[in-house]
């Protein structure tokens, strides 16, 4: 066994190249990371990365990707992480998950047309999954796409969408057969966001603008007879549930990640920085015990992600591990937020320039521990999928969805 990534000389050389480039190109921003001005800088970083093939490094070159190996992708992800950035550095769920799904399910023509703008960072794409009626029950979408000549006419509403700076396209699931059987009546579309009949309206949430770049708030999107060309239907009419299984598998955390245990370090260091009242809290046995609890929570979470990263990259047969990591992340995050509340006291709640030097890091963690309970499927849904994969009470154990072609 080996729990550490072992880097090849090639990877080490690539890391040096990436690190130097990022040091030059990652924008230095002041004030609100998510202001329009700062967002524009991150968008430019995305385009610059895309131009070099570093935005979607493993995607094929012919579709605008980098054509690089997984080894390179790991290095890129890790180096972005050092800057506290994801790849892309802004909210682009429809690009990340839609791009991957189109690689599996799109026609050759669609791949050549739809993927390059995404993979090169030229466009931002939002995924539009849930509607007011759908919740976690994606298959029950009531957004309709009805064929009319060479076009589909879209009507309906999608909620909890995107972020604060708009998108170029929407990647979404619609009902294409109102009378069809469940799971056999839905299809996927890539929809230009500027079509007539599309309205975007802001939704304000508990997370309240402090979730990361471009994630300030969510949106409701209304389709009122928006007409999308039929060539933008991906994976075949009424075949949408299969595309969804690819999409959801990726969303449900089977990808894993390698990361430092940053929240333990951050919390301990913040605790150390708090003014003491007599003996420092870190000298108190109970406080130290809470710190140990936080370490346990975060280490288990780190190890589940590490395991999934390894399984995914080495093509191990995955079963319940994806939803397990996802479920654990949600619940462990909630428990960790509670420990922070006890450990740091009311300081954990602050996003106050005078009394909180972290820029609201813990305030944001505490809020997002709640807000993160539902996206990508609620904790309950993760448990339902885990149970199916373990095969509890069923004849057959469910298999994980296809994530590579």
């Amino acid at each position: 066994m080996d729990f550490e990534p072992a880097y090849t000389p090639e990877q080490r050389a690539f890391r040096a190249e990436v690190r130097a480039w990022l040091d030059d190109h990652v924008p230095h921003v002041e004030g609100d990371q998510d202001s329009d001005e700062n967002y524009a800088k991150y968008r430019q970083l995305g385009r610059d990365l895309g131009e070099r093939g570093w935005l979607r490094p493993t995607a094929p070159v012919e579709y605008g990707g980098g054509g690089l190996s997984v080894d390179h992708a790991i290095v890129l992800a890790e180096e972005m992480d050092r800057h506290d950035l994801t790849s892309p550095p802004y909210y682009d769920s429809g690009g990340s998950l839609g791009g991957a799904s189109i690689l599996v399910w799109g026609s050759e023509e669609q791949k050549r047309r739809l993927l390059p703008p995404i993979f090169r960072g030229e466009t931002v794409t939002w995924q539009l999954l849930t509607g007011p009626e759908a919740g976690s029950d994606l298959a029950s979408t009531e957004t309709d796409a009805m064929r009319d000549g060479d076009e589909y006419v879209i009507n309906g509403t999608k909620v909890f969408i995107g972020g604060s700076h708009g998108a170029d396209s929407f990647w979404t699931i619609c009902r294409t057969d109102r009378e069809g059987a469940r799971h056999q009546n839905v299809s996927w579309f890539m929809i230009p966001s500027d079509l007539p009949g599309i309205t975007v309206e802001r939704m304000y949430l508990l997370s309240d603008g402090r979730e990361g770049i471009g994630r300030g708030y969510k949106n409701t999107i209304y389709f009122d007879n928006a007409r999308v060309p039929a060539e933008n239907l991906v994976g075949g009419e009424n075949n949408g549930w299969k595309v969804a299984s690819t999409h959801l598998e990726l969303e449900h955390g089977s990808g894993g990640r390698i990361a430092r245990n940053v929240w333990f370090e951050r919390t301990r260091d913040r605790l150390r920085s708090l003014p003491a009242n007599g003996a420092h809290p870190l000298e108190d046995a109970e406080t130290r015990g809470l710190l140990a609890d936080l370490f346990m929570e975060t280490e288990v979470q780190r190890l589940f992600e590490l395991r999934n990263f390894w399984m995914n990259r080495t093509h191990q047969d995955m079963s319940y591990e994806g939803p397990q990591a996802s479920y654990y992340r949600k619940m462990s995050g909630l428990r960790a937020s509670q420990i922070m509340l006890e450990l740091l006291g009311p300081y954990a709640q602050l996003n106050d320039a005078e009394f909180d030097p972290t820029g609201g890091r813990f305030d944001s963690y505490l809020r997002n521990a709640i807000v993160s309970l539902h996206p990508g499927g609620t904790a309950d849904i993760q448990k339902v999928i885990m149970a199916r994969r373990i095969g509890i009470g069923r004849g057959e154990r469910e298999r994980a969805g296809r994530t590579v072609e």
Binding site: A276, N277, G278, E342, L350, L366, I370
Partner: protein
């Protein structure tokens, strides 16, 4: 044994519930949280007028002279409505401090004004340093020509915006005696700012060369540790009752939603995962309710074990309110985190009140210290 509310308490409860349903529906409260003051002065005036603000203040000082349990019935209904305002901070916490620590003259002067709403007094106790009880008070008030001069910050002061007085805990004299100074909020050098974050009404109150006369010190010159502690021990379960009300609201929202919202072809409440959230939720609320009311009953009837019961109640309730809200969020998923829905009012409250008058850990530690030698009392059967 009788665990029901008395007829008077039932009437009071009904009256308060009608009041908040009429005057402060959830939509109105959501709007209030975005206002500068954070609460409605009209509500405050109206509550004073109805005699509720002085519920726990003795009649001789202009209050209604009710018991703590009566006050709790009232504030539980406020908590249910997530009604913001310095009702408990001024009408209960500060009133009890003045009552316990003040001289007769101070009581006669301050309490009627608190009861009538003319004065809004809030406790300014905690400072930058870690630790949230009186032992954490380090701020000194220097003596100067018979006056005290205050310099320093008080942090995490609840309901400071709009307050007229700060009951400010400081150290005075060579021995650093704990002293409670009643400071006029309009005195030169006093400034207040709301703290930003996942917070409710928490503020920083800043004192810069603020002069107050020696007579601003509560009491007749004796030590105030014990009176302060007594007041906070009494106030804690009233605050807990407010949290119980909030938990009850989170419960009802979850039950209603589970009956209406459909997923996978049926109301989500049919799913045992969802049922489980609601069951854990109601267990937390009921645990909070009964520990709280037992503590209140001990206070009102002068039973032994008052301190143990109060610490127990605040620890169970502060923790329970957070869990209750979390479970309600699990039931509501996306809808629950939308500002306009209303659940997030309780979410924020649960985090904010978690530390007010001491976090669960603070109370658990005090409880633990008492329990080592705690005598559960004579067997009730003897």
């Amino acid at each position: 044994m009788d665990l029901s509310l008395s007829e008077e308490q039932q009437l009071l409860k009904q009256g308060v519930e009608d009041f908040v349903a009429r005057e402060a529906p959830l939509e109105a409260v959501i709007e209030l949280t975005d206002s500068e003051l954070g609460y409605s002065p009209e509500h405050y005036a109206r509550v004073a007028e109805l005699g509720w603000l002085g519920a726990a203040i003795p009649e001789q000082y202009g209050g209604a002279g009710l018991g703590l349990t009566d006050a709790a019935v009232l504030f539980e209904a406020f908590g249910y409505a997530a009604l913001p305002g310095p009702f408990i901070s001024s009408g209960v916490v500060s009133a009890l401090i003045v009552e316990e620590a003040g001289s007769e003259e101070q009581r006669a002067e301050l309490l009627p004004r608190i009861a009538s709403g003319q004065a809004i007094a809030v406790l300014a106790l905690t400072e930058r340093g870690y630790g949230w009880g009186p032992e954490g008070v380090h701020m000194r008030a220097a003596s100067s020509n018979g006056d005290y001069v205050l310099d320093g910050d008080k942090l995490f002061v609840h309901d400071a915006i709009g307050a007229t007085h700060f009951i400010t805990a400081v150290r005075t004299g060579d021995d650093g005696a704990l002293t409670l100074l009643v400071v006029d909020a309009s005195a030169p050098g006093v400034s207040v700012r709301r703290l930003q974050g996942f917070t409710g009404s928490e503020c920083v109150v800043r004192f810069e060369g603020v002069r107050v006369p020696a007579s601003a010190a509560l009491g007749d010159g004796g030590a105030v540790e014990h009176p302060l502690d007594r007041a906070l021990t009494k106030a804690a379960p009233v605050l807990s009752a407010y949290q119980v009300g909030g938990g009850q609201a989170a419960f009802e929202l979850a039950v209603d939603y589970s009956r209406e919202r459909r997923q996978f072809g049926q109301p989500i409440g049919r799913f045992q995962h969802v049922q489980n959230h609601i069951i854990q939720l109601v267990n937390h609320v009921d645990a909070s309710r009964w520990t709280t009311y037992e503590a209140l009953w001990r206070h009102d009837s002068g039973k032994p074990g008052i301190e143990v019961a109060s610490h127990l109640a605040k620890a169970v309730t502060s923790e329970g309110f957070v869990h209750a809200v979390n479970y309600s969020h699990e039931v509501h998923a996306g809808v629950g985190v939308m500002h306009e829905y209303g659940l997030t009012l309780y979410t924020t409250l649960s985090r904010s009140l978690y530390h007010q008058l001491g976090s669960p850990r603070y109370h658990r530690r005090r409880l633990a210290d008492l329990l080592v030698d705690y005598d559960l009392g004579p067997d009730p059967l003897d």
